[in-house]
């Protein structure tokens, strides 16, 4: 039985519904646990909302209603992306999050692509030259990088490349005062992007390199590799034509699982580099004790992760014919 890609996507999105529901319910639970009245939480920063707004909130969320009604109201609000209002930024939360989503994606996408591709490449090289100097060098660097806390790496990179060497700016996404447009702006942003992207990529390259290396070593012991050699294929062809494709699959799976972790890393990196994305917004909301905004960011991030997982699964299914999906 084969399923069309569209049908599969539709089914998977349906599967995601209980996950989203659970996350919203989790948010609701967290609101209940938080100190203070739920309206205080939902209004954002304590004391910054007008009394009229607070009353409006109380009525809207039916805070005098039984708890399950509150839950349902909350769920329907969040599901329609009504995430509240931020007085500090004077915008609805959903709008605020959307405006900050771009810069975060601008970091995340290159990090994902670079770390996976470099990880696969380095892992394959390390495995190919097992226990020789290429492997030992790569493995040592990997061990060190894997243990480095992301924020510390960022700070040290700033000290070295921004403060001491002056090659890269220390923070921000662009030189706002310069009012660049068009290509000049793109170059400026790219210049600012280098250090934050490197910082976040380091850890993930280490992770995927390790995984790929182990995966290639494992594939090397498989029967089909012996068959390939018995057919007279050279080592290069065995590696690129046969082993690589099989070995990539676990790395891909891991990349999907790490999607959530990547967003967490964004918080730290954006904080270190003052990069105006969702991560920095989360940090700012922490500072301002704006729990509502934080919950909104959490929700959107979770949705993002679900989408990324779906994309990874589709990619995996297109690479592995054993998964029944045409």
């Amino acid at each position: 039985m084969v399923v069309s890609r569209l049908q599969y996507i539709r089914r998977r999105l349906l599967l995601a519904v209980p996950i989203i529901f659970f996350i919203i319910a989790l948010n609701f639970l967290l609101i209940q646990i938080a100190p203070g009245d739920a309206a205080d939480v939902l209004a954002g920063e304590a004391g910054s909302a007008t009394p009229e707004y607070m009353d409006q909130l109380r009525r809207k969320f039916g805070l005098d209603q039984p708890i399950y009604v509150q839950l349902l109201t909350y769920v329907s609000n969040v599901a329609t992306f009504d995430l509240g209002f931020s007085f500090r930024h004077n915008k609805p939360v959903s709008e605020l999050i959307l405006s900050r989503l771009g810069p975060t994606l601008l970091l995340m996408v290159p990090v994902l692509l670079i770390s996976v591709s470099m990880g696969i490449l380095l892992g394959a090289i390390a495995a190919r030259y097992l226990n020789r100097w290429q492997d030992k060098t790569i493995s040592t660097v990997v061990v060190l990088t894997y243990a480095t806390p992301v924020f510390w790496a960022g700070l040290m990179l700033i000290v070295l490349f921004s403060v001491k060497l002056g090659w890269f700016p220390t923070s921000g996404m662009e030189k706002i005062a310069a009012f660049h447009t068009g290509l000049a702006r793109i170059i400026d942003i790219a210049h600012h992007m280098v250090l934050p992207v490197i910082t976040l990529t380091l850890f993930y390259i280490a992770l995927y390199t390790r995984l790929m290396r182990a995966s290639v070593i494992e594939q090397n012991t498989m029967d089909y590799v012996t068959t390939a050699r018995s057919k007279g294929l050279g080592e290069k062809r065995v590696l690129w034509g046969h082993i690589l494709r099989n070995a990539c699959l676990p790395v891909l799976t891991m990349a999907g699982i790490q999607a959530g972790a990547l967003l967490g890393g964004a918080v730290v990196v954006e904080t270190v580099f003052s990069w105006p994305g969702l991560g920095l917004l989360a940090y700012e909301s922490l500072f301002a004790r704006d729990l509502n905004l934080l919950l909104g960011i959490f929700f959107i991030s979770a949705c993002l992760v679900v989408l990324v997982n779906l994309a990874v699964d589709l990619l995996y299914a297109s690479l592995d014919p054993r998964i029944e999906l045409k």
Binding site: I19, I23, L30, V143, P149, V150, L291, I297, S301
Partner: protein, 275 residues
């Protein structure tokens, strides 16, 4: 048993990691003995560079950074170990039940695990600590809650595969009860992957904790390494060592744990390395 030690001892990086760990644990254990006054004590002028009056210099409040690192070892290891133990317990229970009993229990528990794995764990930890107010307890709790899913997955797949082995079937046919089978036959055979993964989880816990304290989500009464880095962030340009030193400490400890963990893995599951 002796074979395991011998194999481990032959693994140089693993032994190197073990030495570092012993040093770190020693620092943690003996800190109050060597410096009973504690790390918050202001001992000298602020911003003294390393290798002047104090080995690792002083921070912006004139506190001895070296003492801070020693006490930091204590806190960091404590948090890492306790949160990991809780996470292992959670993972064992959930994963073990799912893997052994199968069926709808498995499906339900795995869906829950999946959901927890979808949630961006660092954000969730931030949320938890923020809501529960940063204390040692809330930090440990938050780390444990976000760390258990991979252990649950591992335990489930191990239990599942052992459950289907013939010697377990022999126990069932003998009339043995589930609990006896699990504790006498299944669990002992899954110990090595659990030990290895558990040790690596301590490293992850330390990294999460340092990330949280860097963001300010730390118990203000305990000085962990992340705390020191967070406090030194504003003086990065002038007193870079306040950030650098604890970072190196974290790096070395996490690296040491990883090396030991992998060494354990190779020692417990010997495979021909040179094929």
């Amino acid at each position: 048993m002796r074979d395991i030690f011998r194999r481990f001892a032959r693994n140089i990086p693993a032994v190197f990691g073990l030495v570092i760990l012993v040093l770190v644990m020693g620092a943690a254990f003996f800190a109050p003995t060597i410096y009973p006054q504690g790390p918050f004590e202001m001992v000298g002028r602020p911003f003294l560079e390393p290798l002047t009056d104090y080995l690792l210099g002083t921070d912006q409040l004139g506190r001895d950074l070296g003492v801070g690192l020693l006490y930091g070892a204590r806190v960091t290891l404590q948090i890492g170990l306790i949160s990991t133990l809780i996470a292992i317990f959670l993972g064992l229970t959930i994963g073990g039940t799912a893997g052994y009993f199968g069926g709808w229990i498995d499906t339900l528990l795995m869906r829950i695990t999946e959901i927890f794995q979808t949630i961006p764990f660092f954000l969730f930890a931030i949320l938890l600590v923020a809501i529960l107010k940063p204390t040692l307890g809330s930090v440990i709790f938050a780390i444990a809650v976000v760390s258990w899913p991979p252990m649950a997955r591992l335990v489930r797949s191990e239990f599942l595969s052992i459950r289907n082995r013939e010697f377990v079937q022999a126990c069932i046919v003998m009339g043995m009860g589930h609990w006896q089978i699990i504790f006498k036959h299944v669990l002992p055979n899954t110990l090595s992957p659990i030990i290895v993964t558990g040790s690596l989880m301590v490293a992850t816990a330390i990294l999460i904790e340092s990330g949280l304290s860097f963001l300010g989500l730390t118990d203000p009464n305990v000085m962990s390494w992340g705390f020191i880095i967070g406090s030194g962030r504003s003086v990065l340009r002038t007193a870079w060592w306040v950030c650098a030193m604890p970072g190196i400490a974290i790096l070395l400890t996490v690296m040491a744990i990883n090396l030991v963990g992998e060494g354990l893995n190779d020692a417990l599951n010997p495979r021909l390395k040179n094929i």
